[in-house]
Each structure stands twice: as structure tokens, then as C-alpha cells.
Subunit: 240 residues, 2 copies
Amino acid sequence: MSQSPHNGTPAYRRIQKAILERIDAGQLKPGDAVGSERELARLHGVSLMTARHALVVLEQDGRVERRRGAGTFVAPPKIHFNKLTSFSEQMASRGLVGYSKVLSASMVSDQAEISARLALPSDGRLWKIERLRLGADEPFALETVYLSAQDFPGLARSRLERGSLFSLLEGEYGMTLAHADEEIDATTADAKAAHLLAVAPGAALLRIRQLIFSGGGKATLYVLGLYRSDRHTLHIRRFR
Amino acid sequence: MSQSPHNGTPAYRRIQKAILERIDAGQLKPGDAVGSERELARLHGVSLMTARHALVVLEQDGRVERRRGAGTFVAPPKIHFNKLTSFSEQMASRGLVGYSKVLSASMVSDQAEISARLALPSDGRLWKIERLRLGADEPFALETVYLSAQDFPGLARSRLERGSLFSLLEGEYGMTLAHADEEIDATTADAKAAHLLAVAPGAALLRIRQLIFSGGGKATLYVLGLYRSDRHTLHIRRFR
DNA sequence: AAGTGGTCTAGACCACGGC
DNA sequence: CCGTGGTCTAGACCACTTC
């Protein structure tokens, strides 16, 4: 016999799915054993190597912990360090509703440096969208996002007020966001930023310049963010 | 027959070593094929699954790229994002020599919050070491590091002037540093910081609070760093 | 069409953990 | 001791890329 009934999904994926569903349903809690390789192999009618593969990949994804001689256990939920999430997603994960105020949305063609970063001609036309981010009715960030006007036609202002730009791009333009390279430093609030963010001029702001890449490795979005330091701390994890 | 001559190192490690040596020696350059699974299996006298395992792990480490139908190729050297490196290592990687000036080194026992973060009693005795970091004879960072006085006896001031604290801990105390959780925000320079860093009072500084964990998952080091924003930009990469 | 990686089998022995 | 994960074999078919 060759392998299992070929419905398209590999057997090891089905095993992973079964385990993840039990975790998400609360049937398996952190620390619980997910079943040994041999047990899963019997249960799903696959060979040991296949059951093993399912667990190995789950471990790489941080969902289970494998301890030699002991077993495989549900990993404690991880804090999402170094994750690229939209503003809306961040607020939602804290149980808050955030919203944005679009300050301006226009087309520009004089941003040579940003065009270059997005691998566009230096006089390429870009959408420039300025948004004020608010949480608990208090402003805490000023974000200016640039993206190719040609690749995203009809990006109207009205669609940005509510809902996330990420989900708009991922949903309607079939874009998949993959990763972002960020440059982070500190600056002080000028008069305009101070006014919009409701802080004193000269107050410390966290400045983050993001270059966001899509699935194919294409630089898609450039975001300049200024964050009120008293309302925003960036958490990251670094590995040796 | 059981598996290969059991000298202690698994076969797949030996295969990886052989490949990595050819890369480091310059015999294989980025983009070059490292040999197919079948080829490596023949060459090293192992089964296909074993040769495959060697390549799979090398891919996870970012050393090779695997493309179905095409082959396995040497990956282009990666920029080290999100890597925990010591100041000395950072400077060395840029071809610069940095050095530190130890401003103070003392024992304190009134840092309840930091003690808590290091999982020590709230009146635990801590080393507190203040260092000014200089590169190209210009100050650019002020770092205060806290660590358990009990776990690191005899950490004398003289040993910190030259050489890295990391290599001291890893070498002489047998500590392995694993990862750091960092909180990053912005602040402004007070009189003391401004003077030491040679900036105007009120200048924007990047503030990084690091909690550095050792191999066993034990919080070992707490570092408060203030970085001149005009001389320091933090680069990170985030994934979706 | 030939070669590559992706998935899978049905076993095996070893090293380690907990009882 | 027994069960666990870690390594390994000698094959197989499939999906994909390249020519």
C-alpha cells in the first residue's frame, strides 16, 4: 500500500489539527500530555515517523514541549514577542477597542527615499495616509503609512476609518503580510505632533520606521510611527 | 545492522558539519547547491531520511534554502535581527573597538522591584554596575546592570573595564545566556545623563530595560540602558 | 523525462526519565 | 523496569521544477 487515503492534506497535518483542536477546546491544558508518538501512530493509523513528524513541527511552532524519556506536553501559551500585528489586533488582544482618525489621505510623488525602499521609481506615486491612533479616547500614536498607488488602486479614505488596513490589504487585495524590518529610536515632539498627541512640546516619543514585506518578499508598506512614550512600551525578545 | 559506527555524534550532525565546513571554507557560496538528499545519502553512507534530516535542520537554522523540485542551496548570509549580543560583539561586528568606563560598582539591597524580576528576595543583595559605553571616543550609552551578588561572588570592578561582561559570565561562571525580554520606550535626558552622554538636557534617549535569561530559563541579569538617539538605532524584525 | 524535495511505511536500537 | 523521545534503515510514491 502507498500512504493514507490521499485527500490532499498530509497525515501529519491531520494529526496536528486534531491535537490543536483539543487544545483550543480546552480539553488539553498546558502541561498535559498530548499522547506519545506510538500512541498517536496507533490512533491515526500511521507509522511512527509520521506521528513523530507531527509532534516535531508542533514543537517548532511552540505549541508543545517534548522531553526525552518523559513525553510530549502542551506548551504554556506564549506571549507574542516579535510578532507583526496590526493596531486593531493589538487592541483586541487587550480587550480594548481602538480606533483611528484619518488625518489625511493623498497621493504624493516626491518621496524618493521611501519610493526606493519600496523598490519603486523615485518619482513613483504613493498613497500617503496619516492616522491618529486612539485607545480609551486618548491619542497615543501618530502613524503615516506609504504604499504604492499603482498596486492598490481605489484605496479610499472611507475604508480606513474603521477596520484595519492589514485586513483590507489581506482581504481585498489578496496580499499576505510576512514580516517587517523596523528601525527604532527616540525623538522629541514638535509642535504639530505635540498638539495631536496631547503632550507637551519636547516630550519624548518613540519613533518606529517599519518596512513591511509581503509573502513574496516584496516591500509593500512603509510606516512611520510616533508613539507617546507614556502610553506605549515596545516589548521584544532577543535570542543569543 | 543497527545504525552507523556509534562514536557519539549522530550521523546527521556529521553531514551538517561537513556541509558547514565547506561553506565556511568558501568552497560553497550562497546560491550554490549543497547536493541532493540522495547524493548526500550515498556520499555519507546513510539512508535518505537521515540525509534529509540533516538538510531540514540546516534549513531551520537558516543556513540553506530548500526548493522543491530544484534542490538545496546555500542561503545568503543573514543579517542578525533580534539577536542578543554584547556591546563588545556589536562593536566588533562593525569593525570598531568599543570600550566601557565603569562609573560605579557597588552592592545594593534596596532594589525590590529588580530583585523580584530576578526572582530574588526583595532585600536580596545585588551588584549594581554603572558603565558608560563609548565608540569612536564618543559616549553613546549609559548602562546600569544588576545581578545577584550571591550567585556571582568576587565580581570585581577591574575585570569589567576591558572585555565583555557576557564572556566573563559565560566563561568564568559557566553561565549560558539564552534570551532577553526587553521593554523599550523613549525618555529625555536628565542633567546627569545629559552630562555623561554629552547631549543637551531634554534630548531624546532610547530607554531599554532588559531582563536576560540564562540557559535554564533563570532570570540572571537586569540591564537598564539609555542610548543616545542620534548615535543608536535599534533594528528588529517581526514576523506575522 | 529526469531529478528534486515532500510525505510515508514498518520496522529497529539507543539514551534518558520516572517509578 | 518500562515508556518516552532521538536516531536510523531501505525502501516507496507523489508533486514539483528544470531542461
